[in-house]
């Protein structure tokens, strides 16, 4: 009987024994705590980092079965990440929240949204040069979209083993945009360029144009890059609901209840992919480094493209708005406004930068869609 009691009690210490046997689990629990700290104390993308951090802890507790067959995180992962459903539901919410008015009023700022995606392709090249397989390189490059759901959509489909690293990189660097971008903006522009004042006269856009925009973009974009239609279609569906004004309940649900629930599940499921043996590899550090580089390259290309537009255009463009051509909305636009105002108190770049930023949101989706369609064209994906 005593032996049975001792055996029973030993069951209570098994977790601690495993914790000491495999140090990687312990390290990942610390990583999970760091993510929670960043989210809670530093307010760094808390909606994502809190569930990711907690998911990371849950999966790394010794003998945890949350990601084994029928484990609750496995069920969530299989239902929403493996099927790519969660990023798409988030996109409907993003579409419902986004006002594309500034970009519709100045369509040329859309091009800045394209330039802001160049980092994706340059990082892809670097990843290939470092020896990553093709689809892994694509997933690493997509961090440069600066767009969490797009990065998750592509990575979960083509390199699921990198999902944790890619998602953490995408969301963390997105939150760090106000720190990453200003030094690059200063380095690449002259005093004269930073001082350019761009006039803004609010130009209203007709309701018909606002309604036709999501429809036309979905059809045209879908025809050009059908592989990305789910991404493009979901963001445009959200926007159509918003602009139509006739489905206020659905719009509200998409941008609040659905987006919130899905964000919770998505964060937990991503955290659950961060098990010690899968995450603690040199590869993860390289992915995080390349992700950082991708966002820097996006900023560089956006600013250089704006400088080129400035030379080509009759109307002067402040190159600082080029940095806003990424998907971090509206953070990147605010950074451009803040930096422009710092150099010239008469400069108000916000609305111009919002156009570039909204263009960046569509641009990141289009870049992913184009990339997937090019891959399909080459026969690399089905």
């Amino acid at each position: 009987m005593l032996e049975a009691i001792l055996n029973g009690l030993s069951g209570l210490t098994m977790g601690f024994q495993h914790l000491l046997l495999d140090w990687r689990g312990l390290v990942m629990i610390i990583v999970g705590c760091v993510l929670l700290y960043l989210g809670i104390r530093k307010d760094c993308e808390p909606l994502l980092l809190v569930p990711i951090g907690f998911g990371c802890i849950l999966v790394n507790v010794p003998l945890s079965d949350v990601m084994l067959k029928d484990g609750f995180l496995r069920v969530i992962y299989d239902a929403g990440v493996a099927t790519e459903l969660f990023p798409l539901l988030i996109f409907i919410g993003i579409g419902a929240m986004t006002d594309f008015g500034p970009v519709l009023a100045q369509p040329r700022t859309f091009l800045l949204g394209a330039a802001g995606q160049f980092g994706i392709f340059l990082t892809l090249l670097l990843a290939l040069a470092l020896g990553f397989p093709k689809l892994d390189a694509v997933s690493i490059g997509i961090i440069g979209a600066c767009d969490g759901p797009t990065a998750i959509y592509v990575t979960s489909k083509y390199a699921p083993h990198l999902l944790g690293a890619v998602a953490v990189a995408a969301y963390s660097y997105m939150a760090l945009v106000p720190i990453i971008q200003p030094p690059i903006m200063k380095f690449l522009t002259t005093d004269a360029e930073r001082n350019i004042v761009m006039k803004y006269t609010a130009r209203p856009v007709s309701r018909t144009t606002r309604l036709l925009f999501p429809l036309v973009i979905t059809i045209a974009g879908g025809c050009i890059a059908p592989k990305g239609l789910p991404l493009l279609g979901s963001i445009m569906l959200g926007n159509l609901m918003r602009e139509s004004g006739v489905v206020a309940r659905l719009t509200k649900a998409s941008e609040n209840e659905i987006a919130n629930v899905v964000t919770l599940f998505l964060g937990l499921a991503i955290g659950a992919t961060m098990s010690g043996p899968a995450f603690i590899r040199a590869e993860t550090l390289i992915v995080l480094g390349l992700g950082f580089l991708a966002i820097c390259l996006d900023t560089v290309c956006g600013i250089l493209f704006a400088k080129w537009m400035n030379v080509m255009s009759r109307e002067k463009i402040n190159p600082l708005i080029g940095a806003a051509g990424i998907s971090a909305f509206p953070m990147a636009a605010r950074v451009a406004q803040k930096e422009g105002y710092r150099y010239n108190r008469k400069s108000h770049l916000l609305m111009h930068a919002m156009g570039a930023n909204a263009g960046g949101q569509v641009g990141s989706v289009i870049a992913a869609a184009v990339m997937l369609s090019v891959l399909a064209g080459m026969g690399i994906i089905g």
């Binding site: 970009v103 519709l104 369509p107 040329r108 859309f110 091009l111 949204g113 394209a114 330039a115 995606q117 160049f118 994706i120 392709f121 340059l122 892809l124 090249l125 290939l128 040069a129 093709k134 694509v138 130009r203 209203p204 856009v205 007709s206 309701r207 018909t208 144009t209 036709l212 925009f213 036309v216 973009i217 045209a220 974009g221 050009i224 890059a225 263009g359 569509v362 641009g363 289009i366 870049a367 184009v370 990339m371 369609s373 090019v374 891959l375 064209g377 080459m378 690399i380």
Partner: protein
């Protein structure tokens, strides 16, 4: 397919495709704005 061919194709077709697609979309938006310009009545409708 070797990595150099793959990388170059992705760079040219991917980057070029993205730029071209967004340029087409900006053209579409310009056309939409010209065909359906904003009218003052819309503002009036909103207010009423």
């Amino acid at each position: 397919m070797d990595n150099v061919t793959f990388g170059t194709t992705m760079l040219v077709a991917g980057m070029g495709g993205t730029l071209l697609t967004l340029w087409i979309m900006s053209l579409i938006m310009t056309i939409l704005d010209k065909v359906f310009p904003y009218k003052e009545e819309e503002e009036g409708k909103k207010e009423s």
